[in-house]
Amino acid sequence: MNYSSLLIAIVILFGGAYLLGRNRARALASAGGSLHSLPTHYGALMALWTGLPAVLLLLLWSILQGPVVDALLVKQLPAAIQQGTDIEIQLALSKVHNLAQGAGLAADASLQPAVEHLLALEQRNRVLHMGGALVIALLGLGLSWRRLRPSLRARTEVERIVSVLLFTSSGIAVLTTFGILASVLYEAWAFFQKVNVFEFLFGTTWSPQVALREDQSGSSGSFGAVPLFTGTLLISLIAMSIAVPVGLMSAIYLSEYATPTVRKYAKPALEVLAGIPTVVYGFFAVLTVAPMVRDIGVSMGLDVSSESALAAGLVMGIMIIPFVSSLSDDVINAVPQSLRDGSYGLGATRSETVRQVIIPAALPGIVGAVMLAVSRAIGETMIVAMAAGLAANLTANPLDSVTTVTVQIVTLLVGDQEFDSPKTLAAFALGLVLFLVTLTLNFIALKVVQKYREQYD
């Protein structure tokens, strides 16, 4: 028996329970009992009682089985390994798992008891786990069948269960935030056990690759993230210096100057830019923009890296234009018409009205929009992963190659990894910084925009 047939069995039980409950309720009703709720409510109640606990058990089991199995396995490992470090135990465990799956590793006699134990455990686990789910489903079916009588407040109960389900769904967003925070915090904590926090935050040399060669003197690698922060800032700055003026002026032109026809076509056309996947922008940057930037630079006698921050920043700026323009457009449209009338009534030109009345009035909203855009630029990954370099140069020269936080996260985590190496953990420490910075920016920006909207509502 495998998972899919188990799921099918549960679905059949679920549907069967519904029909059973509904028909029983109908029978009760025609036998003269006055039902509290509609027959379908009784059906739904039985179905929920049958399906929910079983699915919950399956979920819990699949979450918990890994750690539990490992805990049981450790006891079967040779005593020498059991007394070793955590890493050694982890290594041995993963070897055991691989051996049990029949991977072509050299058999290790000392691990054999553990492997056999694992195989036996898995066998038992499967039976218990699937059997348990079926038993619980049948139990739910039986219990609810016994409870079913006309006076049962089926609708109220169903509604209570459904509202719990609805609540749980909305809680997933919160769980996600905590999940992200917990995962980056946990791994980052492990990282900071190996590398000093201050060295990470204020060190100016980033060369995680050294950590691979353990026999050499510099085996700990250097994890000074300052070049990554400055690189991220440099590229974001270039991007914002394109996106903010162009995006803002486009929004102003489209909302204050353009005829309805122009607005009708130009606005969605600009928004198409926002729908293009970032990987496409990245390819565009590598294929077209970077060579162009270099050619122009070289023709002016400048020394331009082929992975210049300028090229990546330019393309990122283009990507963010529609983001800034549509956010600013909302904000500008929220400025009451009466303020425009007041200004025009005094004989102001359009540009005077825009510059001296509309922009000051919309300023909090625009600041919020720009902050959201900055957060987006900082977190953008694909464009920089493709068009920016890997070398952690500490420079403010936009023609040089710089690397960013996101590029390093990708580089450190893509490919095979040992999970405990500082190199891998460093990615999570960077992730923590990235998450905290963008979360703070978003939080403040959203608050500012919300306050701004309330002001004119």
Binding site: S338, L339, D341, G342, Y344, L346, G347, V357
Partner: protein, 267 residues
């Protein structure tokens, strides 16, 4: 009620010393006509009240007088409006200096989200009316004084204009208009959002301003029209029914529609 065919305006529509002259003005919103063939004069240094039931076109007409309707894309105007004998709808005319000459006060007080001082100084600044900071200070003080607001705000000129009460805000808007030193002031129901005490203050102010300015005021309050204006124009369904001295309109209206309106049969 429908449009009266071949209607001509009753009463004394024309003035001996006209400041503004409307001649055969039609206004359209898209395909819909809002104003039909309106012709009359607004005399220099008089207060003229435009009254009529809601949707009669009085506000639309008022907004034609300084081309505020230009900001509405679908609005189209035919006919002539002359300011000092000069057609303001002439293609050569720039709306910016025109609006500096014909200022406007709106239904809802709309101070800019700036300080009281900056609200008043906005117009003089954009039009380059003051050569120096001192001159600008003078303009601000003079405007606030004429609007009767100086004593109330002189200690907090740099606090936001939006922090004032409704009546004060509206007087601030009037002061803002005066600061540009216009020749005509258009007022679009300036007291409709205010309480009776604030209204009384504004009405008093209008009366004082008459000395130096020509004022056209749209109002839905007949008492207000009677109190502040010398002449009254009655609009109905986009047509100008009657223009006469205010006393006469309210005592012996010429047209039956005017009479029906002022006696409250519709409104």
């Amino acid at each position: 009620m429908s449009i009266i065919e071949n209607h001509t305006t009753n009463g004394q529509a024309f003035s001996e010393a006209p400041k503004l002259q409307a001649r055969n003005v039609d206004v359209f919103y898209g395909d819909k006509q809002a104003i039909y063939d309106v012709s009359f004069d607004i005399g220099a240094n008089e207060v003229i009240a435009l009254i009529g039931p809601s949707g009669c076109g009085k506000s639309t007409f008022l907004r034609c007088l300084n081309r505020m309707n230009d900001t509405i894309d679908i609005c189209r105007i035919e006919g002539d409006i002359l300011l000092d004998e000069e057609n303001i709808y002439d293609p050569k005319v720039d709306v910016v200096p025109l609006r500096a000459r014909v200022g406007m006060v709106f239904q809802k007080p709309n101070p800019f989200p700036k300080s009281i001082y900056d609200n008043i100084a906005y117009g003089p600044r954009i039009h380059g009316l003051a050569q120096s900071r001192v001159e600008l200070d003078e303009i601000v003080e003079r405007s606030l004084q004429r609007a009767g607001l100086w004593n109330e705000v002189k200690d907090r000129l740099h606090s936001p204009g939006t922090g004032l009460s409704g009546g004060q805000q509206q007087r601030l808007c009037i002061a803002r208009t005066i600061a540009v030193d216009p020749e005509v002031i258009l007022m679009d129901e300036p007291c409709s959002a205010l309480d009776p005490i604030a209204t009384a203050k504004i009405e008093e102010l209008i009366d004082e301003l008459r000395e130096n300015y020509t004022i056209a005021i749209v109002t839905h309050s007949m008492q207000q029209a009677a109190r502040v204006s010398q002449r009254t124009a009655y609009f109905h369904m986009g047509q100008l029914i009657e223009v006469n001295p205010t006393d006469q309109v309210f005592t012996t209206p010429e047209h039956s529609l005017t009479e029906a309106y002022i006696t409250g049969r519709f409104g």
